[in-house]
């Protein structure tokens, strides 16, 4: 009964490769997010979708492309991986902001290591 799940948990790959991370939530939320957490633990929002519509698109390289096939899924595809992409990537979901319980629920994270 995992609320927000991500696969894979670990991803080790060579520079220049293309990889995808998948995220699914079973909380019935209509908003999902991708975050990047660097080695200093700083959290950076990358993208957010609300009901399959892109609503946050922060300044990230266009090698990163999110895709939301439905409101329960948000995937992240990364082309031409670079060393600096090494980080932990978190998926999160929430109900619409402004509701009484609109906090974000996080997945377990995907630790990406680019060699």
């Amino acid at each position: 009964d995992t609320a927000v799940s991500q696969t894979p948990k670990y991803l080790v790959t060579q520079m220049g490769n293309d990889k995808s991370i998948k995220c699914e939530q079973n909380l019935g939320h209509d908003t999902m997010y991708w975050y990047k957490q660097d080695s200093k633990k700083f959290l950076k929002i990358m993208f957010s979708y609300n009901n399959k519509e892109l609503i946050i698109n922060e300044t990230v390289p266009n090698r990163f492309s999110p895709k939301s096939p439905d409101k329960a899924h948000l995937n992240l595809h990364i082309n031409s991986l670079e060393l600096g992409d090494s980080a932990v990537y978190f998926c999160a979901s929430s109900s619409s902001p402004g509701l009484a319980r609109d906090e974000q629920f996080f997945g377990p994270g995907t630790r990406l290591t680019v060699l």
């Binding site: 633990k41 902001p97 009484a100 609109d102 906090e103 974000q104």
Partner: protein, 111 residues
């Protein structure tokens, strides 16, 4: 500019002591969140503070929100080793979808 600042960024303390983590933010908001992250783990929601004067307590942790001062505090009472973690505050400005995150406070509690 929307900013959220936490201090201290690192705190080492002895078990049994009390301490407070501060979260200041740059402009009006009445929605603030506290999260906990254990090493190598995900982020776990601790508290949701929705209005001025809101106070929430869970065990040895108590969070409060003063929207006029643009300040939230996370108070730890009689700390125990199990509370060692990194604590983040995050602010929602104007009921937006985007949270602005603090840098996190790494808390180490020594037995």
């Amino acid at each position: 500019e929307l900013k959220v600042e936490q201090n201290p960024l690192f705190l080492s303390m002895q078990e049994g002591k009390n301490y407070t983590i501060y979260c200041n933010y740059s402009t009006t908001s009445d929605r603030l969140y506290w999260y906990r992250q254990d090493p190598g783990k995900s982020l776990e929601s601790l508290f949701v503070l929705l209005s001025n004067g809101a106070v929430k307590q869970e065990g040895r942790l108590m969070a409060s929100l003063d929207t006029k001062a643009r300040l939230s505090t996370l108070h730890i009472t009689a700390a125990v080793h199990d509370l060692s973690a990194t604590y983040f505050c995050a602010v929602n400005f104007d009921s937006n979808y985007q949270l602005i995150w603090g840098a996190g406070t790494k808390l180490i509690i020594k037995p």
